[in-house]
Every structure is written in C-alpha cells, then in structure tokens.
Subunit: 249 residues, 2 copies
C-alpha cells in the first residue's frame, strides 16, 4: 500500500479549510482526465478500424468522436483556469505506457474487457479525486466520466459472449484480475509521484467524511489513510463491475 | 481509358430526362462518400496517435471526429432514401486496400501528402459524379466534401517543410506523381466495376454541358466520353493542388 510519505517533507500541510483547491492541483487532475479521454479516443479508433462488422465500426467511431468532445470539455476548463491545455495533458503522456505493455490483449474479448475494467479503474480514481476540486471543475469531470457510454457496448457484448462459453468466462475472469492488479499499480504510481493528486485525494476524503457527518481526522491521518481508502473503494467498484458481467472478480 | 462497355448490355440506356437519378445509384455514391469519410477518420486517428507534438495530436483528433460527423450526415441521407447505411458503406470496404498497399508512406511528410493528394483525387471524383444526383443528396455530398478542413493543415505543414529543403521537395514531387497515378487507377476501377457510378457520371456530364449551354451529345458519346473528361478534370485539379504546395506536378 502506498503512502505519500516520500513527499511529506516537501509538500504543504493538508488544507483543511473550505478554500478552493490550489489551481495548479486542479489543472493536474484535469490534465489526467483529458489524457484518459484522449487515450480512450485512440483506443476506440483502433477498435473501430479492426472491428468485425461495419455496424461495430460505425458505433465505435462515434464513441471515439464522443471521447474527443469530452476531452475538449475538460481542456476548455483548463483554459478557463489560465493554464495551457497541451502542457496539462502532455505531462501524462507516459502514464499508461507500462500498463499497456503489460496488458496486451490477445483477443477481441480481452480488448473489450480491458477497456471496461482497466480504464474503469482509472475513471473511478479520477471520480474519487474529483471530490477535492472546486465545484465547476468537479461538475465537468463527473459529467465527462459519466458519459463514457462505450461501457454499455462492452457489457452487452461480453455478457452475450460469456454466457454460453465456460472456458471463455474463466479466462476472462483471470484476465480481469490481471487488469485490476496492473491498474491499481498505475494509481499507486500516480499517488507516489504526483503530490498534487495526493493533496486533492486528501481534500476529497475530508469532504466525503464531512458529508457523512464523520469527525475530521487529524491531518497526518488523512494524508496516510486516504490512499488506503481509495484502494478499497477501487477494489469494491471492480468487484461490482466483474459481477455485472457474470465474472468472478 | 476505361469505358462501361462490359456492362452495356445489362444496363439501361443513359437517362436523358430531368427525372431524378435512380435511387439505388444515388445510394451507391453516398456509400462511397461515407466510406471515404470513414477512411479519413481512421487515417486521421492514426495520424493523431503518432503525431510528433501534443498540439498536433489534439488537432488531428478533432479532424478525425469531424470526419465521423460528416460520414454520419451522408449516412442519414442513405436512411432517408430507405436504404441500409451499413450495406451502402460496406460494399466499398475494399476499394482503397490496393491503393493503400501500393502507397505506404515512409515518412510523416509522405503521409501528409498522401492525405492531401491521394484522397484529394477521390474527393474530386465524388464531387464531379455528385452533379448527377438529386438536389438534396448533391447538396449534402458537396457540403461534406467542402468541409475536409485537414487539407489546410497538410498544406501549411508541407509548405513550411518544403520551402527550405530542395531534396525533400523533389522527393515529394515524385511521391505526388505516384499517388496521383495510383488514385486515377482507383477511379478507373470504380467506373469499370460500378455501372451505377458510370451512369451518374454520364448524368453529371450532361447537366454540366447543359449548364454551359452546350448541345447535348448523343447518348453513346456521353457514356464513352464522360470518363475521358473526368480524368482530364482530375488531372487538372491535381496540378493545381501540387502547385499550391510549390511542388512540380
């Protein structure tokens, strides 16, 4: 389990006031979300090019175009905050390279499951951290992440394919476990290497605790515990996702 | 030079009235235009994935999304005419496969020039044949083909790159000649194998002649001469395009 300890000395104490989040921190999460949407575009466009039927090619190309539109909504917010979209997004250009190398899908089904499970974890992480953002940025991020309609395609197709093929089902269950392990590794890397995201996560954790009427924890405990909580939340979401497909998580 | 002779026996005489074009013929051209826009989407998405800078990746992904939107405008017209979009577009799935195999670009500049010159010929061909369509279909096709804004990017970048590099300029001029030769081969294949397109082209030729106040030619002459005219028009457009880049056509 990761903590933000390596950066504790150099980073400011957790901001426990209701003041808006540091704008540079906000831009960092927006850059990550924009990069994830851009990655979704590239992947969906590739899927479209190799999909078995013309109908699927059409559908996937529309999803790809929608990802561009979502990314640009996020980048428009980056501009509103006075930052450079290309810089905000460009800093994350390598964030999924290792993940992609370790999780090369060998079949169409593995590709679909990767889209649904692998990037699902990334989306969930951004959703949780977004609770630490100012209201307008948070709204945009949550809206954009809710729009990822290609999940439905993945669920429908995987469900139809898996329901009458026991071998496929157990292979995909195994693949899902690999994907979630690697995806949690990416999240861990982000929290260790990106103090801005760790700060936003701590704010998010506080806001959620306050909304639930819990007592505020001491600042040090927040910084240490928030990552632990995020991993258990991400794992729970993954379990729900796999169950929705009828796969053992 | 190709003629439609192989199909002359089985195909109706050229329709010389002002009656609207045969709806199945119209759907065939719409299917071709939709396929070309879909191909543009796939290519622009690929370009976006490998473009040197984040700025170019963003710009190219937007062009890719715009191609999806243009394709869908054409497919909406296919639906209005009571035909199946997937069938209309799907019949052209192989039309550029040989062309792409014979014109694999080896550099970023060659890719750009291929987009501008290679697909430029296909667009021009569709523009000419579109004159044989009913008014609404023609409007949509011409609007869609006029919107292909990525040409500007290609021109700007190629122009900037070529202006200070004589070796690049002469290599690209050679590449342009190969591209146009192969592209004209594709057009020739379409006119030989697709009587519907040959019929629309003959109608287009008549309409254009009438608009210029020329005497109508005998039906047989139209069917034979229209292809000759289209090749000279396509070559002239290619020359203009290369000159715009400062390349010898």
């Amino acid at each position: 389990m990761t903590t933000t300890r390596p950066d504790a000395a150099s980073q400011p104490a957790v901001d426990r006031s209701d003041a808006p989040a540091n704008s540079a921190d906000v831009v960092e999460l927006l850059g990550l979300v924009a990069h994830l949407e851009h990655t979704a575009f590239v992947r969906l466009a590739n899927d479209s090019a190799i999909a078995p039927t013309v109908g699927q090619r059409l559908e996937l190309s529309r999803f790809a175009a929608a990802a561009v539109e979502r990314r640009d909504r996020v980048l428009a917010r980056v501009v509103e905050l006075g930052a450079e979209p290309e810089v905000a997004m460009g800093q994350f250009v390598d964030v999924l390279v290792d993940f992609d190398e370790r999780t090369q899908p060998s079949t169409w089904w593995e590709r679909l499951l990767k889209a649904y499970v692998g990037y699902g974890v990334a989306d969930d992480f951004c959703r949780i951290v977004a609770e630490g953002l100012d209201e307008r940025s948070r709204e945009i991020v949550l809206e954009v992440l809710d729009d990822a309609s290609h999940a439905d395609l993945a669920v429908t197709e995987l469900d139809a394919a898996g329901s009458d093929d026991g071998v496929l089902t157990s292979r995909l269950a195994l693949w899902g476990r690999r994907l979630v392990g690697e995806a949690l590794g990416v999240v861990q890397g982000l929290l260790t290497q990106r103090p801005a995201l760790a700060r936003l996560l701590a704010r998010s954790d506080e806001r959620t605790a306050a909304a639930n009427g819990e007592q505020p924890a001491p600042a040090a405990a927040v910084t240490t515990n928030a990552p632990a909580k995020v991993f258990s939340e991400l794992t729970a979401q993954h379990t729900r996702r796999m169950s929705r497909l009828g796969l053992t998580p």
